[in-house]
């Protein structure tokens, strides 16, 4: 079977900035593929190259077996692109925008008329379809944006950060909608810097950092691969540095404990990496009781995608986000991206 999307050794620079250094991934028909990474990791540039909005410096891109750079015209017919920012013409109505979209894809009049009614039903735009989009709420705008991107029934739907800036209710509704879309046979590529979004939706995921894929697989495979369970322990609500360090030394000597990390941001809580399938929780509780120490809170969990990211890069996604904020000139990046080329 021909892969829905193939990206091989993609490279793309904007001036001196290497936005994408080396990205390779394959997306099978009918799956939801998540591209996870902090802001500035190269996710948007990757999908701009895929959607014919930017020309890659090097690398091979294919959609449904059609080469993107050589035959952009044919690829565009198969792709639906939903940008992070919802760009609507506020003077036009939803129906007028859908008619424009239908004409841009050269749909015959009858086909377009029926399809537009269907999208109005499907996304429950109702009477809003004939209102100017300037009057739409955020959730309504997203619904129209989805309707526009899906109007020509793309085989591959590409969404850049589909739920950024949406309220929780709309977010879970978008998730539900994307799952239904997948069930109906559409291949979906989405980028996100929300762990839980990728975890909840994606069949497979590629974690991308500084323009490179650092891990790829199903979310549960990735978590299994880094191994171990996590125990989060708080001795007291606010543990002193000294006490935290002494407990760290004590617990590190236990045979099943692989690593102990002090999380200063969480009141010096201790994060333990432990071997799977031992009664580790009880053992830790026992050791602390022996030493006469209290327990404010203790919990055990499977590793998360954030732990996968942490293991590969040595920092959490949140840290990467915060570090990136200081380094980026967002205005300049937007201009660079707008220039395309």
């Amino acid at each position: 079977m021909v892969a829905a999307v193939t990206i091989e050794n993609l490279k793309k620079s904007y001036g001196p900035v290497q936005a994408v250094r080396d990205v390779s991934l394959t997306i099978q028909p009918g799956e939801i593929f998540g591209l996870l990474g902090p802001n500035g990791a190269g996710k948007t540039t990757t999908i701009r190259c895929l959607c014919t909005l930017a020309t890659p410096d090097s690398g091979r891109l294919e959609v449904m077996g059609i080469p993107v750079v050589e035959q952009p015209q044919r690829v565009r017919q198969f792709l639906g692109y939903i940008a992070q920012e919802i760009a609507l013409d506020k003077v036009l109505t939803g129906r007028e925008l859908m008619q424009l979209q239908a004409d841009l894809y050269h749909m015959p009049r009858g086909v377009a008329a029926k399809r537009i009614e269907q999208m109005i039903d499907l996304l429950e735009l109702g009477d809003w379809a004939d209102q100017k989009t300037g009057r739409y709420s955020g959730g309504l705008k997203k619904r129209l944006d989805l309707a526009l991107g899906l109007l020509h029934q793309p085989d591959v739907l590409v969404l850049d950060e589909p739920t950024v800036g949406l309220d929780i209710e709309t977010r879970s509704a978008v998730w539900r909608f994307l799952r239904q879309l997948k069930a109906a046979g559409t291949t979906i590529l989405l980028t996100s810097h929300y762990l839980e979004e990728v975890d909840a939706l994606a069949d497979r995921v590629a974690i991308i950092d500084q323009g490179k894929v650092i891990a790829a697989g199903t979310p549960s495979d990735l978590k299994d691969k880094i191994g171990g369970d996590r125990i989060t322990l708080r001795i007291r609500e606010f543990t002193t540095d000294e006490e935290a360090r002494s407990v760290q030394a004590m617990l590190a000597q236990l045979p099943f404990v692989q690593d102990v990390i002090i999380n200063a941001a969480q009141g010096n809580s201790l994060n333990l990496v432990v071997e799977r399938q031992t009664d580790s929780l009880a053992a830790v509780q026992h050791v602390l009781k022996e030493a006469g120490l209290p327990i404010f809170g203790i919990s055990q969990s499977r590793p998360s995608l954030d732990d996968v990211y942490l293991a590969a890069t040595g920092r959490t996604l949140m840290d990467a986000e915060l570090a990136a904020v200081g380094q980026r000139d967002l205005k300049k990046e937007k201009k660079q991206a707008m220039k395309g080329g």
């Binding site: 909005l53 015209q73 565009r76 692109y81 609507l88 269907q118 996304l123 879309l181 201009k335």
Partner: protein
Amino acid sequence: MSTTLPNSPTTLNGSTNFSNAELQAWKAGLSENSPSSPGIFSGAFVQETLAITRRLFIQLQRRPSTLVAGIIQPLIWLVLFGALFQNVPAGLFGESRNYGQFLGAGIIVFTAFGGALNAGLPVMFDREFGFLNRFLVAPLASRYSIVVASAIFIAALSLVQTAAILGLSAVLGAGLPNGPGLVLVFAIVMTLVLGVTALSLGLTFALPGHIELIAVIFVTNLPLLFSSTALVPLEFMPRWLQVVASLNPLTYAIEPIRYVYLHPNWSLNSIVLQTPFTDVSLGVSLGILVVFCAAALVLIQPLLRRRIA
């Protein structure tokens, strides 16, 4: 106002209704015979161009202030500038009976030029807001549809403006060109609009943002007016400015219009302008305009392809 996404309606067999038979048939037809790029001589090009044009007219209909201002402004020019030089002795402005009559042709061309020069601005805003991406990810037959749609829109506006200027000039005593003359006036306006719109859109794709585009429009607009024969005849100017004005395409739009105003029995061989280099006939003048327009359209092709490809 609901912000929730609905649970999608389902068909009887329980699967969600994401497609329909007509759409499937249309899609199947596409993958069988999809040429890599249908080009500008295709039904697809006409369809997308009309759709983009329709959007511009809907915007105008719901925000008519640009049209109102666009008609009032040249009329104010006509009245104020006309009054400014009202007492200039007769004969200084060539064969024109009065300055108002002389000025009409200049205002017509300058107004059309200004409108076309600004054609890139809405497209630039579309680009900055990300709306243009909808056009760029779509399988357009040719991106010239964006240029042609803007040109049709600006041309329609210019025709209304031209009619208003012709009307007011007539009221002010400038008379009217004869029937074929009027046709020629409109043809000249449309050719100029197409060429200048193309250049403006080329700038839109070449420049980084609307600030830069506005700056370029600002430094282009009035200098091109003053270095043309819009306000004074060529023989009025110092020699160096005569040379500049003879290289200014606006001059070749203005002079034929001015000529047909004064000579009901005009022909393509009529001499409309005596440049420092050579005499220029009406036919040559039109030829220069057509070449300018064609050059502009060809010049922007790599920008349409590369910048936004």
